[in-house]
Symmetry: C2
Subunit: 356 residues, 2 copies
């Protein structure tokens, strides 16, 4: 079959380690299923700042644009935290989203049965939780005008949050499309009792909903959603929301599953191109110790297979392998009850590959 | 002693019921401690829209301004949800905050030992949770310019988020002051890796921190805070944040305690004046059935005694009475395990008064 080109951005902290295991999974997929991948590494984040003086070098951007998909580890660390804005890893992250037109961030938050105990929520509350947060990723207060000014009472800072009908329409459509493939329930989160952007958001979502008569639509205020995620997580199917609210709620949702080391994410634009990364961060405190959990990154590869390449057979093989390995009691430190029995990053990767 | 004037705004839904029980507590306090209160009722919220055509009539505002403190039930309900902005209860709420200069919202989120089971979090995680969220209440995206415009891609909506040094300073000082009376730990929540207002927020908080060398200050990004509240709630003491983040995080914090029917709040300005209200809303679905839980409103009176009047003896008597009544197994429906044994609103109120 056709060769698929994957841009590989290891990034910082544990990023390169976990991506290393995901690359082994790609290779195993070639052997097992006959798919062909071409991978090319690029510098991104803190390491790119160190080596190229910018978190998102032009050659990395060109590499991503020439690829069919991007696999990202994680970026950031204390080393760059006090840099000026242009020299911070997260600026690269915002840049790559904007430059590649990745307007939609998709984060499944599901509970791994064997890990239910890792959550701080009661198991009976979590039971059956399997939701997806669809977050708008290139608009809102993240990308609006930002400045300082002299106000009536001295210095002020300003951020602007703007949303166009078009931006809301395309993310709403994507959320409805995803809901159609699942439980056909969509919760649209806004703050329409206060924000003008939220009022437009709600208007547009209601209009788009007419195209999806089978989907049950609920509007929920962001503060209430933060509560309901705790009270009735399993009642949610797909949640769609704007950039800033999505940042907060998707992290809350991820944490409540207790499976944060296991969660993958996709950032999508028009067409099938996508950027895939684990939800967890760069964890600089444990980098280089070979104890990080590679499962979220491996599952990000499965998500890439499903959403960008349509390789559902290979995706299923990965997902089943992960479940089998976990069910057999294998754990990395982050999810181990008995830490002394924890596997290393590559031991976990090898077991998953063997189970594929 | 001096007569204290309290403006009483019952509002909508269960508001008037729960406020009714709080008024009994005021009366009992007069008998027991010799303090004198003068109460005057005002129309506010949906009921004011119905009777006066505006959620915050001028006479209600004048009443509040002439009072030493305001006791509020709750506002809102489906009846007014589709009204235009000026005719919605929440517009009254935003208006009263701005007009009375209530720049600080204080929400204790503590766990009642006898109610730990009501939380969806594991009891061992909740153990010892006792935090306060200090939310900036009259700035940020809530009060910035809002409009629609024709953009490059058609209609857009815009919200503006602005913060001045002065606004950040006064809320930071208040949070530090509160931290000094408690565990001397302050978590300042922002999104300084993305927002200009957050960068200014962090700068100012760091500057104000110099005045409070004894307080241990932590800066935490809002998405991370949404996670850490779930992971280690008991590690927080005081959390300070801007208006929108505070709306979300204070509701998350309230819900995780499992005690949302029990939580009180204060909105304060310069000086001792304050508005006190339960954290729970107007619950229109159960209004008029006399089954609502009056404890949050009764504890809001205790908070008023502490923060506005300095009546610590009476506050303690109320707080102890609530604990005693709960420890004896008395419950309203919302917190009852066996709903058939639940008390009515006024039965609960009477028991608390008797225990004072
Ligand atoms: C690092 C930061 C800019 C980023 C965001 O806020 O989008 C991160 O929190 C995320 O969710 O991917
Ligand atoms: C009703 C609404 C405007 C209000 C807010 O967002 O401030 C409420 O959620 C609150 O927290 O008091």
């Amino acid at each position: 079959s056709e060769v698929k080109k994957i841009a590989v951005l290891g990034g910082d902290g544990i990023g390169p380690e976990v991506v290393g295991e995901a690359l082994k999974v790609l290779q195993k997929t070639e052997e097992l299923f006959g798919y062909k991948f071409e991978t090319e590494h690029g510098l991104f984040g803190g390491i790119a700042i160190d080596e190229k003086g910018t978190p998102l070098p032009q050659e990395t951007l060109d590499l991503c644009k020439s690829a069919d998909a991007v696999l990202l580890g994680a970026v950031g660390g204390p080393k760059w935290d006090n840099n000026s804005k242009e020299l911070r890893p997260e600026t690269g992250l915002l840049g790559i989203r904007k430059e590649l037109g990745l307007f939609s961030n998709i984060r499944p938050a599901n509970v791994f049965d064997c890990l239910k105990e890792a959550s701080t929520l009661k198991p009976e509350v979590l039971e059956g939780t399997d939701l997806i947060v669809v977050r708008e990723l290139t608009g809102g207060i993240y990308f609006g005008e930002k400045f300082r000014r002299e106000g009536a009472n001295g210095e002020e800072a300003v951020d602007t949050c703007a949303y166009s009908v078009q931006e809301i329409e395309r993310i709403a459509r994507q959320a409805f499309d995803i809901a159609m493939t699942r439980g056909k329930k969509l919760a649209s989160v806004d703050k329409a009792n206060v924000l003008e952007t939220s009022r437009l958001w709600r208007e547009v979502v209601i209009r788009v909903a007419e195209e999806y008569p089978e989907v049950e639509l609920e509007h929920i205020l962001v503060d209430n959603c933060a509560m309901q995620l705790l009270r009735r997580p399993s009642s949610f199917d797909v949640i769609v929301t704007e950039n800033m609210f999505g940042d907060i709620l998707s992290d809350e949702a991820a944490m409540l599953t207790g499976s944060i080391g296991m969660l993958s994410s996709a950032s999508l634009g028009e067409g099938s191109f996508g950027l895939y990364e684990p939800v967890h961060g760069s964890a600089p405190d444990i980098a280089g110790q070979e104890i990080s959990n590679p499962i979220a990154t491996i599952l990000s590869v499965a998500l890439m297979f499903r959403l960008t390449f349509g390789y559902h057979d290979a995706a299923k093989s990965i997902e089943d392998a992960v479940e089998e390995v976990l069910n057999a009691g294998n754990r990395t430190t982050d999810i181990a009850v008995d830490k002394s029995k924890a596997l290393s990053t590559s031991q976990m990767g090898d077991l998953i590959i063997a189970a594929m």
